[in-house]
Symmetry: C2
Subunit: 197 residues, 2 copies
């Protein structure tokens, strides 16, 4: 509206992933109409997160504890799930079907994006596998060209440690209709078919 | 992830219009990976807006000045555009095709939502029309049942002032394909057809 603080805030919010100018404007008006119950609480929340949250020196997860509570959990099995980002770590953890440890690489290899092996936490992964008597490393990287290239690279690096290396299965997603799936996924699901019954 | 500050912040952001849990998580990770360039600046921006922004006592617009810069602009014509919300005021102002004043009602009449005439800034509108020698009132309310009921109510209230009252035209939106429009809009656009050529 004006070139003042409201516009500045709208621009800040528009820069967040998933928010455009229209939703940023709606968010600002929502916050301004609920100063005490939303705006002030959001500011305090942001400040607290900024003050208390750190990247775990072990696995790279974001947490208020350091090492994070996943690394402190002694009931977790000596298995490491390698993920590209904290978002992916949270996605695996939400399934509640995995009870091992994690390792956040901090990205995937990308010639185009200028991400080389030296930009990823690869040496630290090899050290952890050696130091913690890890039994298996699960490569949970995206089914993209870059994700798969990274998985190959990590598997090569880990070969000398002798640890068992696995990767996520690929195929038809749960609830997926064949008609809406891309040809590549269907072809891969055919090749990687498993015995039924 | 944990029940700590990160989860709290994600819940705060999920409550904003246009953001769900997934985009709130992505926003938090975006902010945490850019503490100095995004998180700190967003906190300062929110604080500044909370501290400096007020509802204009004249028209109800949100601005750092009071009365707002639209009300201070002496070049604006003695016409009042009545809108339901500040978001609608901004939407009209963005068109750059209107150079009059505004009046934010603060909602529309809604039996279901429990909004009665006493909840809207109606008396203030009548006073402004009388005090400022207003020539025309444009009712820019949504083409919904509630918006149109409110427009009728406001028009009734203003009748005694003798001011000219108009409302936005209804019909096919610019770029609208007939095939994708609802029957009501097409029927209305037929009835309200204008002479061509």
């Amino acid at each position: 509206m004006s070139d003042g603080p409201i516009d500045h805030l709208i621009r800040q919010l528009s820069a967040l992933p998933g928010l455009g100018p229209r939703s940023a404007r709606r968010a600002v008006l929502h916050l301004l109409s609920r100063r005490d119950s939303a705006l002030e609480i959001l500011v305090r929340s942001l400040e607290e997160v900024a003050r208390t949250t750190h990247a775990c020196p072990e696995c790279g997860n974001l947490d208020t504890l350091s090492p994070c509570r996943l690394c402190r959990d002694t009931h977790r099995r000596p298995v490491i799930c390698v993920v590209a980002s904290v978002a992916d770590l949270w996605a695996v953890e939400r399934t509640k079907s995995y009870r091992g440890r994690y390792h956040v690489l901090g990205g995937v290899l990308s010639a185009l994006g200028g991400t080389g092996p030296e930009d990823l936490k690869l040496e630290a992964l090899v050290s952890r596998v050696r130091a913690c008597a890890i039994e298996e490393v699960i490569l949970a990287l995206g089914a993209t060209v870059e994700g798969q290239a990274t998985a190959h690279y990590v598997a090569d690096m880990l070969r000398e440690t002798g640890v068992r290396i696995s990767r996520l299965s690929h195929g038809v997603p749960v609830g997926g209709e064949l008609d809406y799936l891309d040809d590549g996924t269907i072809a891969l699901a055919l090749t990687a078919r498993t015995q039924a019954g």
